[in-house]
């Protein structure tokens, strides 16, 4: 009798009067808490946010919508792929989704037009241990996808034309592949061919895997009609990082070896270290 009285009192005092409750003993769910990997991205407008796991992809228009929902998943360990701002309207093409229940699929992103110069897009992988009857919150750090390249050439004489051609840019990025350091997001091995860039800064894909250097060719046509070609042999462009190359027209050489210096954790300056006569790509 006493235990029934205690049980009744407990039920009355702590009982849940449910119409609907996400957290029940026989269900399991996970919500995703988005975070910026780079704090300076805070406040950026996000749209088309997707969560993908276990063969399911769900899309949301705003971070608030994304935080208001849970993924209902069976018990288990999951890697959840998050993407943001990767829309077809911005030239992004995602392949490999929604995947299967077998685990994280090989999701690749490419650009319909490699020179589309889309606004920045983000992705992240969050690991979640989903348990029955328990609500899990998985944190996903949003990593920048696009590299941003800026090339400034000072002291260019009036009437001079400079055509910028970039080589070794990756055709796609494998979002769910990890590099040697365990970081998600690995450039593919296929390039998009040579890109003629006519505006800076420009958002591009990184340098292809397997190539140690980015190659920027400057074809200079002076006002008098003479032509000069300059090859800038620059470091690799990595996923999500920004690069800025400052050149002086009066110091241009046919071949210039570029070395990096750090401006911030996510931005490198490129500077000319000197001419190397027998260059190797």
């Amino acid at each position: 009798m006493r235990k029934y009285a205690i049980a009744l009192a407990t039920l009355l005092l702590t009982g849940c009067y449910h119409e609907f409750h996400e957290i029940t003993a026989d269900r399991s769910s996970v919500a995703v808490a988005l975070q910026w990997e780079q704090p300076e991205d805070a406040g950026t407008f996000l749209h088309n946010i997707t969560f993908s796991a276990d063969g399911i992809t769900r899309s949301f228009d705003t971070p608030r919508e994304a935080s208001a929902e849970q993924l209902q998943l069976p018990d288990g360990e999951y890697d959840i792929l998050v993407t943001a701002n990767m829309t077809e309207a911005d030239s992004f093409i995602l392949s490999g989704l929604p995947g299967t229940k077998a685990g994280l699929p090989d999701v690749r992103v490419s650009l319909r037009n490699p020179l589309a110069n889309p606004a920045q897009a983000w992705y992240g992988i969050s690991h979640a241990s989903v348990q029955k009857g328990k609500a899990t919150v998985a944190e996903a750090k949003l990593q920048r996808l696009m590299c941003t390249l800026t090339v400034n050439i000072a002291n260019v004489p009036a009437g001079t034309t400079i055509i910028h051609t970039l080589a070794n840019v990756a055709k796609e990025v494998r979002l769910t592949a990890q590099d040697d350091a365990g970081r998600y997001g690995v450039p593919g091995t296929e390039t998009v061919g040579k890109l003629t860039v006519d505006t800076y800064p420009i958002n591009l894909f990184p340098t292809v895997s397997g190539k140690g250097r980015s190659l920027l060719t400057l074809e200079i046509i002076t006002a008098a009609g003479s032509e000069l070609t300059v090859l800038c042999d620059a470091p690799r462009m990595e996923v999500g990082k920004s690069y800025i190359l400052e050149l002086d027209y009066t110091k241009l050489q046919p071949y210039m070896y570029i070395t990096p210096y750090s401006i911030s954790a996510w931005e490198d300056g490129w500077t000319v270290s000197g001419e190397i006569l027998n260059s190797q790509e």
């Binding site: 005092l13 702590t14 849940c16 009067y17 449910h18 119409e19 609907f20 409750h21 996400e22 957290i23 029940t24 919500a31 995703v32 808490a33 988005l34 975070q35 910026w36 805070a42 406040g43 996000l46 971070p63 608030r64 994304a66 935080s67 208001a68 929902e69 849970q70 609500a135 919150v137 949003l142």
Partner: protein, 237 residues
């Protein structure tokens, strides 16, 4: 706090038992129509979306008040009382939510917005209640007229005001005072110590109409209740 309360209840029961033992054999005059007044006090609990009694812990509140009434006979009396209480409410385990600064509930923190997990919040409530109740002594229907014990059920209607502050890890969020119609009741076990002095242990529930008194975003949980329990000391006039 829990030990203190339990200790006081036990002490009161012992006192009642001692008084009952001492009073045995001394017959009381039959109850006549009469006025009475009294004081009462004890603990209180809140039960909204957040609750004072959670799976993890009982968070005891405090309440006290004055009352006065008119006794028609042993069976029936009516009573008007004013009580003031305060207690805190916390999230249940089944609500692992997050609340934005705009006080909107989410399943997870919202990017670029400030907020708090429910588990880190406390709803601190102060309340006042003006209640009218009818006391029906069910034991009087069964026991001899000379019996000093009573077993009272008291349907109650009340005007209740609540004021809740939301305590977050970094600041307090005050909310406007609310007014509710309260419907509920009280149950008590009493003992008449002498012709004019009686004591009773009681428990009371007040169902609040209107807005949720804890000011937590409404979701899933429907209750909007105040509980209180304690000791009443009654003096006949």
């Amino acid at each position: 706090m829990a030990k203190l309360f339990t200790g006081r209840v036990l002490a009161t029961l012992l006192l009642l038992a001692a008084v009952a033992q001492g009073a045995r054999g001394q017959a009381l005059a039959p109850v006549e129509r009469s006025w009475y007044v009294g004081v009462q006090g004890g603990t209180s609990f809140g039960q909204g979306t957040f609750r004072s009694i959670t799976e993890q812990k009982v968070h005891w509140g405090l309440q006290g008040g004055l009352f006065g009434g008119y006794r028609f006979n042993r069976l029936l009396s009516v009573e008007l009382g004013a009580r003031y209480g305060a207690q805190s409410q916390y999230a249940l385990d089944c609500c692992p939510y997050w609340m934005s600064e705009e006080e909107v509930r989410y399943m997870a923190p919202v990017l670029d917005e400030h907020g708090w997990y429910y588990k880190d919040l406390r709803a601190a409530t102060q309340w006042g209640k003006l209640a009218l109740q009818a006391n029906i002594d069910l034991l009087s229907l069964l026991a001899k007229p000379s019996c000093r014990w009573s077993l009272t059920l008291s349907p109650q209607i009340s005007a209740v005001t609540t004021s809740t502050r939301l305590i977050t890890p970094d600041r307090e969020i005050p909310h406007e005072r609310q007014w509710h119609l309260g419907l509920g009741g009280e149950a008590g076990i009493g003992f008449q110590i002498s012709q004019s002095v009686g004591v009773a242990l009681y428990g009371s529930i007040t169902c609040l109409t209107g807005e949720r008194f804890d000011n937590i975003p409404i979701h899933a949980h429907k209750s909007n209740l105040l509980w209180d329990a304690g000791l009443k000391l009654t003096f006949g006039l």
